[in-house]
Amino acid sequence: MHESFLTHENKRYLWVALVLLVGSIAAYVWHDPIGRPNGGTWLGYTLGTIGALLIVWLLLFGMRKRTYANRVGSLRGWLSAHVYLGTVLLVIALLHSGFQFGWNLHTLAFVLMTVVIVSGFFGVFAYLRYPQLMTRNRENATRQTMLDEIAEIDGNALALADGIDPKLHQIVLRSIEKTRLGGGAFRLLTAHDNSELAIERAREMLEKRGRAETNAPKTEEMPTMFAMVDFLSKGVDDKASEALRKLIDLLSRKKSLATRVARDIQFQSLMEIWLYVHVPLSIGLLAALTGHVISVFFYW
């Protein structure tokens, strides 16, 4: 049975985190500082030190995961601890601040830290959910084999379409030109393959010609594939309609493959996108934390 980073070593780091959490809250409740609770009491300094060390250690995870030769604990153990201790950090920082916020460097550090942690929560969600979805979506294929199959289908579809009608050949050609897998960040995250767009345009053309040449029924609501069948089956012989059915099978298969590849890209992108927030902001946090510590002792 695969062991998740959340259940690593019988949830060892969950327990460590819980002890830290309960200990911090208990100390905060018990502590009776001069004035209101803040970072400048002995408990404030203690929690602040724990928090700062945690932040530095959590940042080191970025280095640890790159050094494969490192033998200091397994990477899964590190990730498990990273997740649990990172979560507790949120509470420790809150208690450290005594729930005081303002328009200052200190709250900036807190906000950066919070965004980093929350983006990390999404990361945990993504790592738990998307690998399963990806496996299911790929159906034992890899992305490359799906792409190869699409290329093969494109060739076959062109040949088949050419045998039926030159106009159909054009539509298929257009569809191939317009099928776009990948693209900008937004496109990657929203699983667009554009095959629908191409079919949409083809349908428009079919409609226009249908109106001009025949009294074909309105096909606005009709899926493109059926529109094609509807239009082209008029006045074509049995052999052609056999080829047409084959073509439609091919195009459907292509559409499903393109959708799956787009989904695959989407899942992979979703698994990565949070890192583009998590990593830069955590480095920004390092600067803000440094400033926080310097400023606090500069004006002691």
């Binding site: 803040n38 005081q100 900008g184 400033g291 500069f298």
Partner: protein
């Protein structure tokens, strides 16, 4: 129009040969159909895919005839006008449009794109399929963010600390963070006016705020106790900032918690090695000693010198007055010249403007209506002044001298010259004057004696013979209203007696008091009806600071302490307690 169609044929091993052909017409058609001017046998090409029209010498219009479009100069297009050198690509065929050769109006060179180039093209045109291939990045934003924060939030405020000029520039600059970005919390309201100048308190970097910084404004604040006399580390070593922690909100600077005081005062006698005579005290609800009150007392010279005395059962007050509260507060009312009148506490006891203590009782407005100071039945409206013995004597002397000299004083015991009415212009002989004035002096003395020792003054005051001839009588000094709790700041204003829940009698048992020596000042148990200790639940939580001050030394001020700290030799000679 004549087109030069030049086909580039690759012969292998890099050798190339050309095959020229001439095409007549304005339009060059391209497609997979056999009727096309340029025949491209490629499945990805439509039968009639595109056409190129030579519009002018060296100008070509390229049009796609199908929706798939055509790639001109690597851009997918439907129709465009281009010049010589433009590349048109269809499938694996490349058509380069030429500057019209000699004898031709247009020209095109047709070649096949080789497999390596196609593969490279496919790779170059491939869209990103992972986020790392898009504009998104981690490294650059990380560095930008790191250095932006370091510059804006570390470097700028630090520079502002070392350069006042730069600080002013920075403060005047919008958007960028000021030095206040380092403020860990809002300053106390009193410190806001110099809030943008951190160095006002934080003089040196990486050092605690020094007391001398506080002393710039607060040097005249009284000290708490003399650390030389009371050898307590809490006194000698405490910094101002130990208690006064700024950046904790507008009101966060003043401590009012119990531990501020009771960490020393709960066992002060032991801690101070007997140097302190103060009673040990901790929680108001459970561990506060009985109050001390300032009982009125006077030195033999008549100077007011109150005696601080612990409140106790049977303790008497010597206010210098005779006054039964119960008689005056008779619920049936009092018979006064203006009819029956009911007196209330506030008829005589009125708070001063600040509301803390009561104003002195005013004889003229509060007592004289009933306790008249008239002295002569023939002139009942004339009264002697209150409170000034010599003036009473003068007034009586003058009053009777005038009556004697004017004559017509209707008193059979008086000499004839006093009783007889004068005629206009009548002048008394010298002997008559002597006789009349002798009567007047004697009369004034008799009346004075009766006022001071009989019917008027002694009603309320103790009267004794005077020490000099000008003042034959002496009135004992009086103190009715004043400060009773000298070391606490009780205020009547905070205890509204105009409501039903709290009346004067809730604290002062005046209605039952028969004599003025009854001390009507309440003790600690009276306060505890409403006030509890710091953590009281059903009572008003009350800490030391609500009644007492911390900085209340009568002689020593903070700047003196600081001066002593600078010159430790002076402090080395301990004063005798």
């Amino acid at each position: 129009m004549r087109w030069l169609i030049r086909r580039v044929l690759k012969r292998g091993k890099g050798s190339v040969s050309y095959e020229d052909d001439t095409h007549y017409g304005d339009v060059l058609t391209i497609g997979r159909g056999s009727d096309q001017a340029i025949f491209v046998p490629d499945m990805r090409v439509a039968l009639e895919h595109a056409r190129i029209t030579a519009v002018a010498s060296g100008k070509y219009k390229v049009e796609s005839l199908i929706l798939a479009g055509i790639r001109v100069n690597n851009e997918l297009t439907y129709a465009t006008t281009v010049g010589p050198g433009a590349m048109v690509e269809i499938g694996t065929t490349r058509i380069q449009l030429l500057e019209p050769p000699v004898d031709y109006e247009a020209g095109a060179e047709i070649s096949t794109i080789d497999k390596a180039e196609i593969a490279a093209g496919v790779k170059a045109k491939a869209l990103p399929t992972s986020l790392s291939q898009t504009w998104l990045a981690k490294r650059t934003p990380s560095w930008v963010l790191f250095f932006a924060i370091a510059l804006l939030f570390i470097v700028l405020p630090m520079l502002a600390h070392y350069s006042p000029g730069f600080r002013e520039t920075l403060n005047a600059t919008p958007v960028v963070p000021h030095q206040t970005a380092w403020q860990a919390g809002e300053l106390a309201s009193a410190h806001h006016f110099f809030g943008e100048n951190c160095g006002a308190c934080h003089e040196a970097a990486f050092k605690w705020v020094r007391d001398t910084s506080c002393g710039v404004c607060h040097g005249n604040t009284p000290a708490h106790a003399d650390p030389v006399r009371f050898n307590l580390p809490e006194l000698g070593e405490a910094r101002c900032a130990h208690c006064h922690r700024d950046h904790n909100g507008q009101k966060g600077l003043i401590r009012d918690d119990q531990v501020l005081c009771d960490d020393c005062h709960k066992d002060l006698k032991t801690r101070s090695g007997g140097a302190s005579a103060l009673a040990d005290v901790a929680d108001f609800g459970t561990a506060h000693p009985e109050f001390n009150v300032n009982l009125p007392a006077w030195t033999p010279d008549g100077v007011f010198a109150p005696k601080r005395t612990v409140l106790a059962q049977g303790l008497e007050e010597q206010s210098g007055l005779k006054f039964p509260h119960d008689v005056h507060l008779d619920p049936e009312g009092l018979n006064t010249p203006d009819g029956v009148r009911r007196l209330e506490c506030e008829s005589c006891h009125v708070a001063d403007a600040g509301g803390a203590i009561m104003k002195p009782v005013d004889f003229e407005t509060m007592c004289q209506d009933c306790h008249r100071l008239d002295f002569d039945v023939r002139e009942p409206n004339r009264q002697v002044p209150h409170g000034k013995v010599p003036e009473v004597i003068y007034m009586l002397d003058e009053f009777y001298a005038r009556r004697a000299l004017e004559g017509g004083y209707n008193d059979t015991t008086a000499p004839t010259v006093v009783q007889i009415r004068r005629r206009p212009g009548q002048i008394l002989s010298q002997q008559e004057q002597v006789e009349a004035l002798a009567w007047a002096r004697s009369r004034a003395r008799t009346i004075g004696e009766s006022l001071f020792t009989g019917r008027a003054c002694t009603t309320c005051h103790a009267v004794s013979p005077g020490r000099n001839p000008g003042e034959p009588w002496q009135i004992a000094p009086v103190r009715v209203a004043g400060i009773w709790y000298a070391k606490a700041h009780f205020t009547h204003a905070a205890h509204d007696t105009t409501v039903d829940t709290m009346t004067c009698e809730s604290c002062h048992a005046a209605r039952e008091s028969k004599v003025a020596t009854d001390l009507l000042i309440p003790g600690v148990e009276n306060c505890r009806q409403c006030h509890g200790g710091e953590s009281a639940k059903n009572l008003v939580p009350t800490t030391c600071i609500q009644c007492h001050k911390y900085h209340e030394h009568e002689a020593l001020i903070l700047s003196e302490l600081q001066a002593r700290a600078k010159a430790p030799a002076a402090a080395a000679t301990p004063q005798t307690p």
